[in-house]
Symmetry: C2
Subunit: 590 residues, 2 copies
Amino acid sequence: MPSYAAPVKDMQFLLHEVLKISEADIPGYVDLDASFTGAVLDEAAKVAEDILTPLNAPGDREGCRLENGVVRTPEGFKAAFDTLREGGWMALDAPEEFGGQGLPYLMHTAVNETFVSANMAFNMYQGLTHGAVSAILAHGTDDQKARWLPKMVSCEWTGTMNLTEPHCGTDLGMMRTKADPQADGSYKITGQKIFISAGDHDLAENIVHLVLAKAPGGGEGTKGISLFIVPKVMVNEDGSLGARNAVSVGKIEEKMGIHANATCVMNYDGATGWLLGDLHKGMRAMFTMMNEARLGVGLQGYAVAEAAYQNALAYAKDRLQGRAVTGAENPNGPADPLIVHPDIRRNLMEQKSFVEGARAFTFWGATLIDRHMRNHDAAADGLIGLLTPVIKGFQTDKGFDMAVQAQQVFGGHGYIEEWGMSQFARDARIAMIYEGANGVQALDLVGRKLASDGGKHVMAFFDLVKAEIKAHEGDARMKGLVEPLKVASKQLQAAGMYFMGQMKTPNAALAGSNDFMHMMGHVCLGLMWVRMAAAAYAALDVGATDRAFYEAKIATGRFYMARQLPACGMHLARIETGAETVMALAADAF
Amino acid sequence: MPSYAAPVKDMQFLLHEVLKISEADIPGYVDLDASFTGAVLDEAAKVAEDILTPLNAPGDREGCRLENGVVRTPEGFKAAFDTLREGGWMALDAPEEFGGQGLPYLMHTAVNETFVSANMAFNMYQGLTHGAVSAILAHGTDDQKARWLPKMVSCEWTGTMNLTEPHCGTDLGMMRTKADPQADGSYKITGQKIFISAGDHDLAENIVHLVLAKAPGGGEGTKGISLFIVPKVMVNEDGSLGARNAVSVGKIEEKMGIHANATCVMNYDGATGWLLGDLHKGMRAMFTMMNEARLGVGLQGYAVAEAAYQNALAYAKDRLQGRAVTGAENPNGPADPLIVHPDIRRNLMEQKSFVEGARAFTFWGATLIDRHMRNHDAAADGLIGLLTPVIKGFQTDKGFDMAVQAQQVFGGHGYIEEWGMSQFARDARIAMIYEGANGVQALDLVGRKLASDGGKHVMAFFDLVKAEIKAHEGDARMKGLVEPLKVASKQLQAAGMYFMGQMKTPNAALAGSNDFMHMMGHVCLGLMWVRMAAAAYAALDVGATDRAFYEAKIATGRFYMARQLPACGMHLARIETGAETVMALAADAF
């Protein structure tokens, strides 16, 4: 069975030495000193390691089942869910007025990483609720907030998001689910929704579905879509639970992974719902939560890779196979451990440098969300809007690749379910698909975000990279880090210029969108590695006692720069071939 | 349920217009004219499409089970196996004296592709037998051949390969299975073997296990290993079946994929076996079959990707979602098909150009094996030895990637088992691991094959690439194909030169071995695309009627060159950073 230890030390390094959060001018951050965040993360680590990790592999094997219309989660899930709820873990960043602890989103993000690494499928039950809470906070009336939020914040009731229908996922304009207005101001919701994560389960006494549907008079396409609150069980005026609403589970999907999270077909048969936010503005309401939701999925990408990496590393140190080409390193044993072999190292270093870089990128992204939410900082909002498709698309693509590479370290044992490495790969696979498939992320980045607000945000991003490079250019020790970033960011700019020169042939940009997203991901992780290496040197310069920790950061950063940033040149070369070879074949000539 | 149609036309193009096999000076090839190979492939297509494809998804769901010591294969497998056996499909390239049809290995390869695409797990039962037959043909005494081969060639009895033990896979020198010589010349085999594909089943009345074990007096490490024939059921002098041998199934492994093939733990408890080949020369005996076995796994890489691609393409043409950015292409429908979107195209073209390129590479590889086997051509043997790790390692890495990309086209539906795309990805994953994990392939390529025979074979390879480039340099139409190959092959040579310059630091080469293998894979597929495009132009020049077919070949080749060959520059840049950043961290600093 795989093991997991929360990387609290790495997180603390990021929070206090790289991001220096308690010095950041964001309301609430001043309280986040190292002893406070350390205490929170140590406690979260215990929950992740002792409660969630042991349920991960058994949950995958057992899966969920539908019994007489009710979804049963795997053994142990209910008890664990109760424990987390009682510990207040599900309400970290919710406002205190609704029973939350009012901590910044950043703290939720750090804690969330440990829970996702430990048990991604389990954590989705509360993860979806978190998203639904955000939606009601942003768009609900005071009455709606008072009615739904206290129980949802505590996860006594959980939440879901209902967007997809059998014939449409990305293209929601084709949606068929209808909302018929009733005399009392409510709506009757009728239609079928699919791929509803945590759509039903036995962990909470009620489930609050947020459902996109078409109400009359909204016109064609996405313009006619509104968002509705549709509870599984009706709630009486006094807050007690009433009758079942007309919503039911059609089936649980058999999936490649995240078996312990029930992915449901949901049938709404004239179910009672209430409008959330403005009529016919449902898509906009969904979009306001998108950065947060997509950052959460981008986090899944590297969090699962982190768990997979930890196990691959342990196996590589333990498994004896072959001899180092430079001479036996375990001469008294029958063979050397796998980790002596350069290609195993290359594999492990790719995992390590990705996971640590992605964590830094994600934490930084979380501070931008806090800066927007708590400081109403429009520039931060614009920047995180630009970075979100990269965090989601790049990190889930690479996170899956890294989980597959971790599996490879195990040889044949990696393919056997008993060892748990297959589960990491199977679970990680979904993050590339849901919350906007990665092709849609690339389209969002290149087709919308690059040019939004006249290109202001992408220019701000490049300024920020330039400033970082300039800050360290005088430091000879940083050369192996700064130079590759300089090259890669110039290549990224060249790709942007190429797109601008092809304004009249939009296919040229779209044919290169996936390459651009990956290129930008590498530049962002490169930027993070420059920051982390600089922080490590700073610590060494003032005589930090744990030198090995800081030296490992620098060495890992140098690896990422030397071995991963060269991908940018390849992506640029691909991009600059334009759309011609991509679009040359007529559809029926395939 | 996924569908599959055998790409007979593409195969015929390769055999007769690219490889021009009936003109090749190889015994047996003269009979392989287009009408003969077309007839064989058309019949194979029927078997693959009508018999094997319908069993693929159900076989994955049902899997194998162990009942009272006997492995039961999924429903329908026995009947299908009998049908294939009766049709002579399992004996295509075996010698006629043992009941085979004596066709070249190339024909086996082409037919095999269709069977693997249709049902990889099913096809492994005969695939392993094919390998065992080759071993007995190469190393058996006349008596052994007469005793075992006729029933194995017909697959009345099947075969297995037993190498791995719980504590050793790659490093077989640590093997513990023992062979004790008996007075009658037989051996008692005792030990446990794991990961035995097709280790037991109900498809045949006997199973002939080829088992590596240590007989006394052979010394330490791999030198002491010999190969033994160990039947499941003893065979009497008259060829009838006798008592059960002391070999039993410990368990069936639960795997990520190929559920319908029983991967067994095999226990040998003093089982009777007979030496195959020379005493203490078991490793060498295994190596003689390695090119063939690894080419077969490299074929699995692209064959599963082919099946996945066919389904992704059909879905991309059928599924309506969004509008083309250049204007509606299906204005009367609610949306355009997915295939109008440039990033979906990019994805599909990557699949298509890989699969067709890999098929050409594999078929060419099969002709080299025939040239060695039938013409005793040492140069062909040296060349296929060099190319084998590339065919195995590069094609299975990319084949898996492409199956994952095919799955991505389906969005959320790709993650649901019902659609079958998950199975392609899960099945394809194993090919990166077995028959020598891909890290071992890269090591074999860089650590052994590059320098073998004084570098003669890699020089022959470069000469061949140069000759191909030279042959088409005067043709302006070929510029977009020839130029990128020229650049890429120079980069590959530069990587080789870099390794040679680092002779004293072998880690530098090994740290770049994976990159080199992938780089060489791209150069090989680039070479194939130059050949295919040239053949397509030749057909167009003489007024071929099916212009669309040939034009599609050229367009697909141009895509591969423009969009995939730029990876070579990245690999070279990575390689040239050497081992330093890869090996910098001490094992305990990870």
